[in-house]
């Protein structure tokens, strides 16, 4: 222990029998640092000082203990017997990003799961998103965004695990586990994934009628979600329709089973960046939209030079399967295509539906008489002519 200075800060009401001892916590912390240092290949790259404990501090009413090893620091949740926060500063590694040496996504996934187990957790992590090239951490680092799982069902990003690692060796800079709710009693949804995809898109089309094209940045998935609440216990979303019983669960730290997705307004792209995005949570039992979080223009720190306009929408989708849907009614048309065309001379009367090709959903109208469909971009209509397969399907669908 050496120069250990133990600070009994906020030693509170938590029963000690529920918690691992400080010594056990220190052992866990030390093992974790040793594992984190070894990265993906079992060898320490860069500087690594001796793991002499400088200070251990009790925090959060004694539920957690913070261990300071000099260049490395670890926080242990004593109730979960697990590491929840770690960071280490090290040098001796060339931070220049080298694509040839960068770990591949499958290597990162294996590494993340090993680190997670070393932290004291179980259950596989699902890779949600990866930031490369030091975009979300030190120069030359990956930032891994991962979703913990319970019985195979992931938690939403509100309960994420983030790990920042050196890109070539996988040595860990930071490891952070966010709070997660207790899982719901049942993990069986009442509706299927295909319907959920349709309903999620339609929820945004209804919420923002100006949005007519949606790109699934993160596809719909079944997930465990605890609604984010303000200090006053109010859901913190642009729109929500959570029932009081669901809010009560959330306030007790319990999760709900939802379908969850992150969607871009495809029509709002400036270059590769969206100006509007929506996070949608559907009740997995019946598909009802429980909450929508809107990240819209004017709410971010981005700027765009004059002339850097939105990506123009164009039909000409290419031959392939297209899904058409309205509400819970849906069908998939194989070998479907839409070709760009000019507005018909006759007046068109449309019936609304959603057309989906891969991760793009388009809110359309179809005029059975003229056989054209269109979507609205701002105040402008963009017309398309479906091929024979799709035309037949649409005529039957909107009848």
């Amino acid at each position: 222990m050496g120069a250990l200075g133990l600070v009994f800060a906020f030693w509170g009401s938590v029963g000690q029998s529920e918690l691992i001892s400080l010594t056990q916590g220190e052992e866990l912390a030390r093992r974790f640092v040793q594992r984190a240092r070894k990265g993906a290949f079992g060898q320490i790259a860069g500087t690594a000082g001796p793991l002499d404990l400088r200070q251990a501090t009790l925090v959060d009413d004694g539920r957690q203990a913070a261990y300071d090893f000099g260049s490395a620091g670890v926080r242990v949740d004593r109730r979960q017997a697990a590491v929840t926060v770690f960071h280490e500063s090290f040098s001796g590694i060339d931070p220049t990003w080298r694509a040839d040496n960068a770990l591949a996504s499958n290597q990162l996934s294996v590494l993340a799961n090993e680190i997670y187990v070393a932290a004291g957790f179980s259950g596989p992590l699902i890779m949600y998103s990866i930031d490369s090239h030091g975009r979300n951490g030190p120069e030359g680092s990956y930032c891994l965004h991962l979703l913990p799982t319970y019985a195979g069902v992931p938690f939403t990003y509100d309960s994420a695990v983030t790990i920042i690692v050196e890109h070539a060796t996988g040595r860990v800079y930071t490891f952070t586990v966010w709070n997660r709710p207790d899982p719901p009693d049942s993990l069986t949804p009442g509706i299927g994934l295909s319907i959920a995809r349709v309903l999620a898109s339609e929820a945004v089309f209804r919420y923002r009628p100006a949005v007519t094209q949606i790109f699934e940045k993160h596809p719909v998935r079944l997930a465990i979600w605890r609604p984010r609440l303000t200090n006053g216990g109010i859901p913190d979303y642009a729109r929500h329709s959570l029932a009081e019983t669901q809010l009560a669960r959330a306030r007790q730290g319990k999760g709900l089973l939802v379908y969850w997705t992150y969607l871009h307004d495809f029509g709002s792209y400036r270059g590769e960046m969206p100006q509007r995005a929506y996070e949608v949570f559907l009740d997995a039992s019946d598909g009802r939209a429980l909450a929508i979080d809107a990240l819209e223009a004017g709410q971010g720190g981005g700027t765009f030079r004059h002339g850097n306009r939105s990506n123009p929408f164009s039909w000409d989708l290419g031959l392939g399967p297209i899904e058409i849907s309205r509400g819970r009614k849906r069908c998939v048309v194989e070998a479907a295509d839409v070709m760009q065309c000019s507005a018909p001379r006759s007046k068109v009367v449309g019936k609304e539906f959603v057309l989906r090709r891969a991760r793009l959903a388009v809110f359309c109208q179809f005029d059975a008489a003229s056989g054209v469909l269109w979507t609205t971009v701002g105040k402008r209509r963009v017309f398309g002519k479906p091929n024979a397969n799709l035309l037949n399907a649409l005529r039957g669908f909107v009848r």
Partner: protein
């Protein structure tokens, strides 16, 4: 005999004050001096030299020595000389700075590091090195002599704060301003910028002891390159700390209602030009210390792989970064690599200005830059409570504020105090003194 002795007596009393910060006597081939010499920035101090940051270094001490190589004919020629005893004190603005006030004079001098943010911007920092000594050596005078070296420096702590007033660009034709029919009430991002500057200003002008450059006000009125006043471009050459809460993209950030300040390419970018030159005809070079810190709560202001163009433009990163992997000591920069939303991912119901508020709270408490950022964002093991995590518009995931440069940079307290110096693995510097 008298005629011969007189030159010897005259020589023994020769006294000088050159160079700046040195007071010396010579006795024949013996020189005794009190010296204060600047180390960082490198080179000798000059009178009323402006110094900035928490890493201002100098050496000071009483020194004695015998000139080797023989003596001029007819002058005393000593073989050894040593300060036998003496008193010695080192003060900054009359305040003892932590060195034992009385004791054996140092033959080697003391290395001292101090922070200009210990003093108000513009304050005269007077460093004094006083000593009284008795020389030891055959034929040397045995009566006490006093030496008094003195240096006057100026604390230079200047900040620019920028808060955008602009809101979204609904048509791609330009950002809308207050008064536009579509301007939100209250403004969302501009409102957060306003709150952020309001939150950090008292810290910057208070415990950080900075003053704002002329015309800064609440940071909302800047113009650049076009008509109007105050002109941000004309003031960027005067500051040593930049805090911006505005809009940005990979090549530029928005300075004002009319302009974007381009920071790429590095060879000829506006930011670098304004930072390194003083406006005029013809423009002259920057006349004050370089920037210590830049913090940008704005999209894509630290982005595009390893280029880090904006910090390079502010001279907070060396141009070859990251290859070779080096940094400027005590200089650092922070920004975001992607599109950051005004609302934080967590905690609920909290906006990006709170991130800035908390970050500057840690900086004002003397935290080092990397540590302050980690603690703000819940990535530090010792902070069990609230993490302030920004949200990426693009992916909906956490978008952390990231930093480049010297992770140990700080704005309050002294850069790498003795214990910290050891913690970072540097060799022990037992002869150094760290002042606050």
């Amino acid at each position: 005999m008298l005629f011969v002795a007189a030159p010897k007596e005259l020589r023994a009393q020769e006294e000088g004050f050159d160079p700046y910060g040195t007071h010396w006597f010579e006795y024949g081939n013996v020189r005794i001096s009190a010296e204060i010499k600047g180390l960082a920035p490198p080179g000798e101090f000059t009178a009323n030299m402006k110094v900035s940051g928490t890493n201002v270094n100098f050496s000071a001490g009483l020194l004695s020595g015998v000139r080797t190589g023989g003596c001029p004919p007819g002058e005393p020629c000593y073989t050894s000389a040593k300060i036998q005893s003496g008193t010695y004190s080192l003060k900054i603005n009359g305040e003892e700075i932590g060195i034992p006030p009385v004791g054996e004079p140092s033959e080697n001098g003391d290395h001292v590091r101090f922070a200009t943010t210990h003093f108000p911007d513009g304050a005269t920092i007077t460093i004094e090195c006083k000593g009284t000594y008795i020389l030891q050596g055959p034929g040397l005078p045995d009566y006490p002599k006093s030496l008094n070296a003195k240096v006057d420096l100026k604390a230079y702590n200047k900040a620019i704060l920028l808060a955008t007033i602009e809101e979204y660009d609904p048509t791609g034709a330009g950002y809308i301003l207050p008064g536009h029919p579509s301007y939100p009430d209250p403004p969302l991002y501009a409102g957060a910028a306003d709150r952020a500057v309001a939150a950090v200003t008292p810290r910057i002008t208070g415990v950080m002891k900075h003053t704002l450059v002329p015309g800064n006000g609440d940071g909302k009125s800047w113009r650049e390159s076009t008509a109007g006043s105050p002109r941000l471009d004309e003031r960027m050459c005067e500051a040593t700390l930049f805090f911006g809460f505005t809009h940005g993209e990979t090549t530029n950030w928005r300075s004002s209602q009319q302009d974007q300040l381009v920071y790429t390419p590095l060879a000829s970018n506006e930011v670098r030009t304004y930072v390194t030159t003083k406006p005029g005809t013809p423009p002259t070079g920057r006349e004050v210390p370089d920037y210590n810190l830049g913090v940008f709560h704005a999209c894509e202001t630290l982005s595009t792989f390893s280029s880090s163009l904006n910090p390079k433009a502010f001279l907070l990163l060396p141009a070859p970064w990251p290859n070779p992997a080096n940094v400027f000591a005590n200089r650092a920069y922070a920004g975001f690599a992607g599109l950051v939303h005004y609302q934080l991912l967590q905690p609920a119901n909290t906006t990006l200005d709170k991130h800035a508020d908390v970050l500057f709270g840690y900086l004002a408490a003397g935290e080092r830059f990397q540590s302050a950022i980690l603690k703000t964002q819940g990535q530090d093991f010792s902070q069990p409570t609230t993490a302030h995590v920004p949200k990426s518009i693009n992916t909906g995931t956490a978008i952390y504020m990231i930093m480049r440069g010297d992770s140990h940079a700080r704005i309050v307290k002294v850069y790498l105090s003795e214990q910290e110096w050891i913690e970072v693995g540097a060799s022990v510097r037992s002869d150094w003194k760290w002042v606050r």
